[in-house]
Symmetry: C2
Subunit: 242 residues, 2 copies
Amino acid sequence: MIERERGVALWRQIEERLAEDIAAGVYASGSRLPTEPELAARFGVNRHTLRRAMSELEKRGVVRVEQGRGSFVQEHVLDYFVGRRTRFSEIVSRQNRRPGGRLLRAAEEAAPAAVARDLKIPAGAAVHRLTTLSEVDGRPMTVSDHYFPKARFPDLIGVYADTGSITKALTRLGVGNYERKWTRVLARMPDAEEAEHLKLSRNRPVLVTEALNVDAEGGPVEYGISRFAADRTQIVFGSETG
Amino acid sequence: MIERERGVALWRQIEERLAEDIAAGVYASGSRLPTEPELAARFGVNRHTLRRAMSELEKRGVVRVEQGRGSFVQEHVLDYFVGRRTRFSEIVSRQNRRPGGRLLRAAEEAAPAAVARDLKIPAGAAVHRLTTLSEVDGRPMTVSDHYFPKARFPDLIGVYADTGSITKALTRLGVGNYERKWTRVLARMPDAEEAEHLKLSRNRPVLVTEALNVDAEGGPVEYGISRFAADRTQIVFGSETG
DNA sequence: ACTGATTTGTGCGTATGTATC
DNA sequence: TGATACATACGCACAAATCAG
């Protein structure tokens, strides 16, 4: 179940194991976990060791520990539906959650090679890069980088500042309709900044989507990279009845 | 960069960090890594500690260490394209890789709740469950569970034994055309069995897809769960020119 | 309001593993 | 290799919060 001398501390192995059990539904959302002595006995460790694991889980927002009462599963999972025309606020509010967010950064940069290729601009051409943090019920949901070709949208940052929304800014710039041409999904461990913004442990994976949005004529409009806390998010493609 | 007192041994943090750098392209596939003293200096650790990390990476097949020459990146990444009618063998061979695989398990079971719901059969009804391991160039690519309603395909396992392919077995059972209705993507840390089959460290994430395949009339045919080593795989939805 | 049982919170001493020099 | 420093893990004891009677 848990192994010693593997280069990973026992409390960390227990932390992962409990997080998996919770994610797998062994312990339902909101339900009470076994007591600390019980869990310590099950893993064959001291209660201190188990408590260290619980403490980390609490930091991550996976469990909630209450003195004299017990420990409880505190879970929020969000299905992030991706279709051709999904917009963040729709996705969230359709699940009766409250969307939010803020701009972390806006700058003009030379396009990285992969971005330039997909936006069909010369390598190193100027792009606007907007970095945003999206929230659901006040909890961080995704950190995204949005790249726009500067040649096509010279004043995008100014218009964004007026409207406060990427969709609205694009509408005002003449791109009322855009759709997702493709989406690439990968998973990896977060870097320090991502972990910080997502309030995530560095030992829990992030789901990353890279997507290209195109206008009605198929012209590239935006290249986006979004990072989600995998513990709190599933990404769903296709039907929304899944 | 690397942190002490995090419950994870330094050599393991360095192992993860180098694996990430390699996955992110900081060190190109096949290129030479900095020397051990250089890397040890960069991470601020003793060379012994760094060598422990390299040794683990070599075990995982991520790097290749050659005495007197240096250490080299040994990596393979695969884009796993998902469309409505994608078949594993196509995806792989289109990238000039050699597909392969074998059956790990075939059994009749009571359907788990989520599977039953999506297959639209009563909770606990009988399903066939085929567990397969797919390989690319002889390296493990994905471990999958395929669930089929037994009521509709009573002899699926026998037919599969004859044909050796799920697609062919379904064709012979009268489902020549099926397509992917939706796909759910998530990421998590692997369990012991998954890590074993995928030849993956338990500290590297797996990408998991859950998908429902339906026939031409929209009737559920198969519920599939596939697990990929995230270090070696990206999943792409939509256009195949990305 | 009190009591006892249960459960989490905290302190301390000790042994062992990890990493450095 | 041996000495040193520190994180990890254990065992025991007791304090604090909660709840049922």
